[in-house]
């Protein structure tokens, strides 16, 4: 087995110090052991009733003892073995949960539910910390064994009796739709923020005259999302009832020309006068993009007020607009920082060799700023996936729907049904974009 274990350095360490506590692993094991003393599951007569807490020693079977042993081993064994141990701990942990839920629910009514309690969460945290400890020493094993154990547990149905999973089964179809909606809401917002934010960032970086744009973005970021919705609602409701689609489109076309004319006179005046039109364009683009990407049908109705085209004071239109405004700051800021970070010597060399300003931008400045730009998009994406939760408050749906319903109905498992996928999505998108950024840097040789 040693011959195939990855990382020759890790192998060497194994031989030298097989019994040697590692601080991060020690922390994980400590957390795991503390968790074993706390209640893990909560048995409730119904999904909203008060519960009775039970610890791992409260149900028969010796999985608890095995987990205890695994934690001790995990703390002291070094090298790639730790990854294997972690996978085993995860497996035992899941089996323990499955056993507990099955035991608690035997002889109970159909309406009875089992929820996760403190000990279970703490042990989950311990496994998470343990993953990092294992990853450092034998990343192959850790990356392989943890997902494998997780897949095995799901295959065995270890979590099937747990509260959030029971909720998911009864809401399955709605869950799929709301997940899709959540993705299309945050996706359209991020796409729009990139579409608007990148040129804006380029503009801000081009001259100190445009520094105020960053100030405005920062100010937008400080407005609480609920307040932004509250401000948008009456305004957008008014506009969507009175403004007809063709009038809106005509206004936008005229606006473009008016902007160019006004720009020649005074830049500040042009921006100030045309800002409402810009927001109108953004809200229309947002609503339509969301319909294109998401489960809701796209409606474009001419000779009718905008609300017939799906742009209203509540729903997707204000949600995407608000999310876009929030996502703008990280995008603009990183484009700006990225372009500003291009060394002056490199730009001077490019100019001196006869690059036109456009060539300098596309061949030198943009490629060099790209990794940082991607960082901004990554930040914007994980931020947006999180705050899209509040979109449910104004009837735009998304996974926030379950959180809202759970809070209203006092059903914590329902809240988890919304919250866990949101966390998972944010982490997934974040690591995917992080990986892409790394790939880009590697490809570009910086």
């Amino acid at each position: 087995m040693r011959a195939v274990s990855p990382g020759s350095r890790a192998q060497g360490e194994t031989r030298r110090t097989i019994l040697n506590p590692h601080p991060v692993a020690l922390l994980a094991a400590g957390l795991g052991l503390v968790a074993l003393g706390l209640p893990w599951l909560e048995l409730k007569a119904s999904r909203i009733a008060a519960g009775e807490a039970v610890g791992v020693w409260g149900w028969p079977g010796s999985w608890g003892l095995l987990l205890l042993g695994l934690w001790l081993l995990l703390a002291f064994v070094r090298g790639p073995w730790r990854g294997l141990l972690l996978g085993m701990a995860l497996l035992v942990w899941g089996l323990l949960v499955g056993q507990g839920t099955a035991y608690l629910l035997s002889n109970q009514l159909e309406s009875a539910r089992v929820s996760a309690a403190g000990g279970l969460w703490l042990s989950l945290l311990a496994l998470y910390v343990g993953y990092f400890a294992a990853y450092r020493e034998g990343r192959g094993w850790a990356v392989l064994s943890a997902p494998l154990a997780l897949a095995l547990l799901i295959g065995l149905g270890a979590f099937d009796q747990l509260g959030p999973v029971v909720e998911w089964r009864s809401w399955r179809e709605q869950f799929a739709t709301e997940l899709w909606r959540h993705l299309s809401l945050s996706g359209s917002a991020v796409l729009l923020a990139v579409g608007v934010g990148v040129p804006l960032g380029v503009l801000v970086a081009s001259s100190p005259r445009f520094g105020w744009v960053l100030g405005v973005m920062g100010f937008l970021q400080t407005i609480p999302s609920l307040a932004l919705f509250g401000l948008l609602l009456p305004l957008l409701a008014q506009v969507s009832q009175t403004l007809r689609l063709e009038t809106a489109l005509a206004l936008l076309v005229v606006g473009v020309f008016a902007f160019r004319l006004l720009w020649a006179v005074s830049g500040g005046l042009a921006v100030l006068l045309m800002l409402p039109l810009g927001l109108l364009a953004l809200v229309m683009a947002g609503a339509w993009l969301h319909s294109l990407l998401g489960p809701d049908p796209l409606r474009i109705a001419f000779q009718a007020p905008l609300q017939a085209s799906g742009i209203r004071g509540i729903g997707a239109a204000p949600a995407v607009l608000a999310l876009t405004l929030y996502a703008l700051l990280p995008v603009v800021l990183n484009v700006y920082t990225g372009l500003r970070g291009v060394p002056e010597a490199v730009k001077d060399a490019g100019r001196g060799m006869g690059m036109s300003p456009a060539q300098l931008f596309w061949r030198v400045e943009l490629p060099l700023a790209l990794p940082l730009m991607l960082e901004g998009i990554r930040g914007a994406a994980s931020l947006t996936i999180g705050i899209t939760t509040v979109a449910a408050l104004i009837g735009a749906g998304g996974l926030g729907f379950f959180i809202l319903r759970g809070v209203e109905g006092g059903a914590p498992d329902m809240v988890l049904l919304g919250a866990i996928p949101i966390i998972g999505l944010a982490l997934l998108v974040d690591s995917a974009l992080r990986w892409m950024g790394g790939l880009l840097r590697w490809r570009m040789g910086i």
């Binding site: 060394p343 010597a345 490199v346 730009k347 001077d348 060399a349 490019g350 100019r351 001196g352 060799m353 006869g354 690059m355 036109s356 060539q359 030198v364 490629p367 060099l368 570009m444 040789g445 910086i446």
Partner: protein, 314 residues
Amino acid sequence: MIRFENVVKRYGDFEALGGVSLEVAQGQLVTLLGPSGCGKTTLLRTVNRLIEPTEGTVFVGNRDVRGLDGVELRRGMGYVIQSIGLFPHMSVLENVMVVPRLLGWKKEKREARAKEMLALVGLEPQTFAGRYPRELSGGQAQRVGLARALAADPPVLLLDEPFGAVDPPTRERLQDEFLKLQSELRKTVLFVTHDLEEAVKISDRICLMNGGRVEQYDPPEVLLRRPKTPFVQSFLGPSRTLLRLSRIPLGGLIEPLDSHRPSVSIPHSASAREAFSTLLASGLRTLGVSDATGRLVGLVRLETLLAAVSEEEA
């Protein structure tokens, strides 16, 4: 080839160039020398129109540069700056191909040319073509910068302290190689430096500047022998005699070997200055001179060197 006529550059109240007139003949290597802030870089940058003069005219090949498109003009001139400015996201080969690519050369042609240039500056193309700038030493990066400037075979090279950022031994080696290259290529070179020794070593003519004006424009030997102004005198300092020795080739001072065999020798290609230093260091009065194979071919006496200096002085 390059002619400055009364070039003035003002930034608000500050006068960076106070009326510079200068002519650089084709195939000559002229250094713009002076303390920092003397306007030498500003003057250099008026040639490729990175800086537009407030007054006066710059001619390149008898054409007023204002009448030429700035971008086109720059593509026709090699340009190297102190921090080199290699593009970090491009490989060495791609860096060297930048200007040929801007000029729309075919891929095979520009690749062949870039490899040829790498070989010319002493970098093995097979080893270095695929490397990225961060993987190069300072000296290697400077060579790539030079290869990049030479890639499109421009008649004019503008070099702004190109060897300023490398350690002294590497700098000397780069200077030697550059001189060798220049003796083959015969480009018209404007070379900005603040290093007097470098200027004396490589220049056909030195333009010593101060406060945005030309103090003296002469070949190094003349500049060192007859400083025209007190500023030039103080800038050259007390070591100017020694520096003059560095412009004297050893060849003319060698005497045939006699029965006395000197214990210390230097190569035939060394300068009079190196011979003088070696004599001082060894405490001897005569020094052997050896040819490329290390065989003693003659000797040089301390008296001869001293006479050579005083002869020049007179």
